[in-house]
Amino acid sequence: MPRTIRDVVFVDGVRTPFGKAGPKGIYHETRADDLVVKAIRELLRRNPDLDPAKIDEVAIAATTQIGDQGLTLGRTAGILAGLPQSVPGYSIDRMCAGALTAVTATAGSIAFGAYDVVIAGGVEHMGRHPMGESVDPNPRLVSEKLVDESALFMGMTAENLHDRYPSITKQRADEYAVRSQEKAAKAYANGKIQQDLVPVSVRRTNAEAGETGWGLVTADEPMRPGTTLESLAGLKTPFRAHGRVTAGNAAGLNDGATASLLASEETARELGLPVKMRLVSYAFAGVEPEVMGYGPIPATEKALAKAGLSIDDIGLFEINEAFAVQVLAFLEHYGIADDDQRVNQYGGAIAYGHPLASSGVRLMTQLARQFEEQPEVRYGLTTMCVGFGMGATVVWENPNFDGGNK
C-alpha cells in the first residue's frame, strides 16, 4: 500500500497555572487528573470548530503513574473531560519529557496516517507524588556500576554537569536565573502568558496554608519577580557542599498540567483549525545518566541532522530550565551567548516551575506565541533534558514565516 508522510501541525496549546508542590501549594487539595481535565476542556472550548468525536487519541504523560496519575490517564481524563466514549486514550512516561513525547508519539502516528487529530499533554502533581515515590531501582544498576549513584538525584547530576563545564560558574548560573525571572515578569506584564492559561478552581481546608474555601488560580504560583543576584548568592547548595546548584538557579517542585492539539496539516486546514507551528523533526538521545543535563545537546544534533538544518538556522529556542547549568551547557556547546535574545524570550522553568511530565507542551505553547510575533523567524526548537540521562528535541517551522523580508 503506498503511503504519503503527512505534515503535522501544532494547532493549540494550553496549560493550568503552575503551583508550588507541598502542603501550602495552591493545588495541594486538587487532584492531578482534574488538572488535566481542565486543560483538555479549555482546548476544546478554544477550538469550537473541532467536533470532539474527530479526536483520534488522547496521550497524557505523567512520571509517577499511580493514584490520580494512574489508571491510564489519557483514557480516564478523556472520559472525565466529557469527550465521546469513542475517543481512546493512553498514558506516556519519559519523565520530564513526558508531554514532549506525547506530542512526538502522536505526531508520528499522524504522519503515518493513523490519526488526524490528537490531544497530547502531561501532568505532574509533585505535591501528591513526590519524585521517587514508590520507585524500586534494580540493585544491579549500582552493584554492576551501570549508572553512578548520583544519577537518581537530579540536583547531583546538575552539579556533575558543572564539573563537565568548569567555565559555567555559580555566578553565571545565578545571572541566568535572574534573567529568567525578569523575562517571565515582563512576559506576564505584556500578557504573553495568561492568554494560554486555564483558570482552575481550588479548594483549601487547611487554614495554615491561607484563606479556606474555594478559590481560583489564574497565575503561576512559583514566580519570584524581583529576584536579584544578591538574593540568590546566599542560597544553600543542597546537593553538594560548596556546590553551585541552588533552589534559585533551578526549577522548583511543582504541580500543573498541559494539553495541546495536533493535527495533520490537511485536517487542520479542512476543519479550519489554526496552524501555529509545523513539525520539522524530532529526536531523543541518551547520555550518561549522571550528567543527564547534557542530553539536549546530542538530541538536538540528531534532530537538526534529520531536518537537514544547522544550529544557525534556528531563530528561537525554548529550552527547559530544569537547571540553569543545563541551559548554559547547551549554549556553550553551540557558542551561543548566555543572554542571546533568541533563547527563552518569556523566561523559563526557573520562573514558572517545572511539573515534570507536563513541561514539554509549555515550551511549545510559548514557542508558538513567539512564532506569531516574529514572522521573520523560520525555525525554532524546543528541547529538554530527561532523567536517567536523556535529551529530547523537537524542531518546528513557523507557518507565519514571511521569507525574512520585514
Partner: protein, 710 residues
Amino acid sequence: MSTTTTELLKGAAELFPGEVVTQAHVRHLDLPGGAGRFALITLDNGFDHTKPTTIGPQSLANLNAAIDQVEKEAAEGSITGVGVTGKPFIFAVGADLKGVELLKEHKDALAIGKGGHDVFRRLSGLAVPTFAYYNGAAMGGGVEIGLHCSYRTVSKALPAFSLPEVFLGLVPGWGGCVLLPNLIGADRAVSVIIENSLNQNRQLKGKQVFELGIADAIFEGADFLEQSLIWTASVLKGEIAIERPEVDRGDAWDQAVARGKAVADSKVHGAAPAAYRALEIIAAAKDGDLGAGFDAEDQALADLIMGGELRSGIYSFNLVQKRAKRPAGAPDKALARPVTKVGVVGAGLMASQLALLFLRRLEVPVVLTDIDQDRVDKGVGYVQAEIDKLLGKGRINQDKANRLKALVSGVLDKAEGFSDADFIIEAVFEEIGVKQQVFAEVEAVAPAHAILATNTSSLSVTEMASKLKNPERVVGFHFFNPVAILPLLEIVRGEQTDDASLATAFGVARKLKKTAVLVKDAPAFVVNRILTRFMGEIQNIIDEGTPVATAEKAIEPLGLPMSPLVLLELVGPAIGLHVSETLNRAFPERFTVSQNLAAVVKAGKRGFYVYDSGKPELDPEVAALLEQGDTVLTEDQVRDRVLDAVAQEIGLMLDEGVVAEPQDIDLCLITGAGWPFHLGGITPYLDREGVSERVNGKPFLTQGVASVPA
C-alpha cells in the same frame, strides 16, 4: 446593625448544642479578565458528601459573620462582588431538622425563622452584586440562600434541588415562598414549592433549575466553578446582560395559586396545613412586598413548627430515611448466606411480578415453575415482555436486556429448576394445605440451605413450615401490590425460623431495595390487620345504618391517599372479604365478616362505585344489595369509632409483640399503605388527637418523638 441578629442566633444555638456546624469560609480571588477582587463564601460542615451541609443556628451565625466581613469590604470598595458555593457535591441541604425537633416554644421557632431571614437578606443588601453557584445538592434553606443573591448559576451535574418543606409539613420560610414566585412567576413556583413537594418530594436536576429560570446560567460539572466565575467576571464587566422574563402579576398569579390548591386538595385533602399556608404566602407575594412576605413566612414557620403535622412529618421522614435502612430486630448481616439463584413457585401474575423484581435487582438466574407448560410459558413470557418494555423506554440497554432475558427460565420439573437454588419463594393459591404441599415438594429437591419464602398475606408461616424436615429455613416475605411501587416488605419470622435464614431474607430485601420490617407470625401481620380492622369498622357502621357517603366523608379529614371504599376496590372486594374471614377466625370478637360485603362479592361486583359521571357514585346495583340497620352516626361519631378501633388494634398488636415498636407500625403504614407523613403513619396522629389516651389510657409514643418535646 446585626447585633440583634447575633443575639437571636446565640440564643437559638444554645437550644441546639448538638448542631453539626457549617462554616462559612471567606476566600478572596482575582476574577479572570481583570474583573477585580472577589470574595467567595464556601459553606462547608467539614465532612465529606455523605454528610451534607445543613444550616442550624450556629451555622447561620457563621454565615452572618462572613457577611459582616464582605459587607465591610464591599462598602470600602475592595471587592467587586460576593459569591456563595458549597463543598464538593453539596451546596447546602437546608435547615437542620434535628434542631427543629428540639424547639419547644413558639418564640424560639419564630427566632429561627427570623434569624434565617435576617442573615440571608443581608446578601441582597450588599453594596456589590451577589452570586450563588449551585454546585451540588441544594434543598430548602440552601436553595433560599441562592434566592437572596442577585444572580445564580447551576451545575449540569446537580442531582437534587428542591424546596421540600411542604413535604415535611413546613413552608419554605427563609424567603422561598416570597422570592421564588417573584423570580420565576407564581405558576412555576407552585410547581416547585407545592407540586414537587407533594409528589414524594420530587427533585429537580440542574438542567430543570436552569430551564425554570431559577438559575441564570448553567455549566457542566467538570469545570462548573471556573466557568461560573468567568461568567461572573463578564456580568460584572457588563459584557453579559441577564434577561429574565417579566413575571405575570395578573390573573395568571391567582390561577397558579388556585392550581396549587387543587394539587394540595388532591394530595392531602385539606388535612395538612403546610401547603395551604405556603399558598397563602405565595398569593400575597403578588404585590412584590418582600418585607411583608418575609414576616408572613416567619409566622407560618413558627406556627407549623409548633404544630403536630410537622413533628409527624419529621418523624415520618426519619422512619423512611433511617429506620427503614436499619430494620429493628434484624439479625447480624454477617449471618446472611449468598443468594445466587432464585426459584419462584407459581407463574401467575403475582409470581411473574416477583420473578421480574428478583431478576432486575439480584441479576441472578430466576426459575419459574407451575403445574402446566402453558402457565410456565405465560409467566416467562410476561417477564420477557416487561424486559422489552424497559428496553423500549430506555431504562436498560440492549446488553442488559439480553443478560436479564438469559437469566429467566421456566420448567415444569421442580427438581430440575430448584436443585441449585438458594432462595425459593412461593406465590401459589392462598390455602394452607396447598402451600404445605408445595413446600414439601420443594424441600424434597432443593439444597438443604435454601430459604423457603412465602408471599402469604394472611396464613401462618409457622403452620406452613410445620411439616417440613427443616422448618427453620421458612420465612414470610410479604410484598404489597403494586410490587414494583410500594416499598414495604413484611418479613415474617415463624416460630422455628433461625437467624441465618432471617438474615438472608433481610439481605435479599435490601438488594430488592425494599423497606423490610420484621414481623411476628401473627394473623395478617401488620398492614392487612390494621387496614382490615379499619375497613371492617367502616363496613360495620354502614351495615348498621350510616349512609355510605357519610361514612366515607368522615374519613376525609385524615387526608388518606384514597377513601376506604376506593381502597377496597383497588384491593378487590373478594380479597378484602377473604382477609376479613381469616381475621374473624383469629379474633372473632373484633373482626366481623360483613354480610353486605359478602353479597357484593357474590354478585361479582368489583367495587361499590361507578364512575360514569367521572366522579365515584354509589353503584345502584350495589345500593340494592345493601341491607342496612337504622343506626345513623354523624361524621364525627364515625371517625371516633374507626380511630378507636385502629388504636385498640395497634395497642393489642404491640402487646402481642407483632412488631418491636409503634415506629414499625407507622413505617409499615407509610410504605405499605401510603398513609401520609402528616399523620406520621398513624400513631402520632392518634396520640395528638387523644385517641390513644381514650382507648388505651396512654399515648403510643413518648412526648417529643413525634410531637413538641415536654
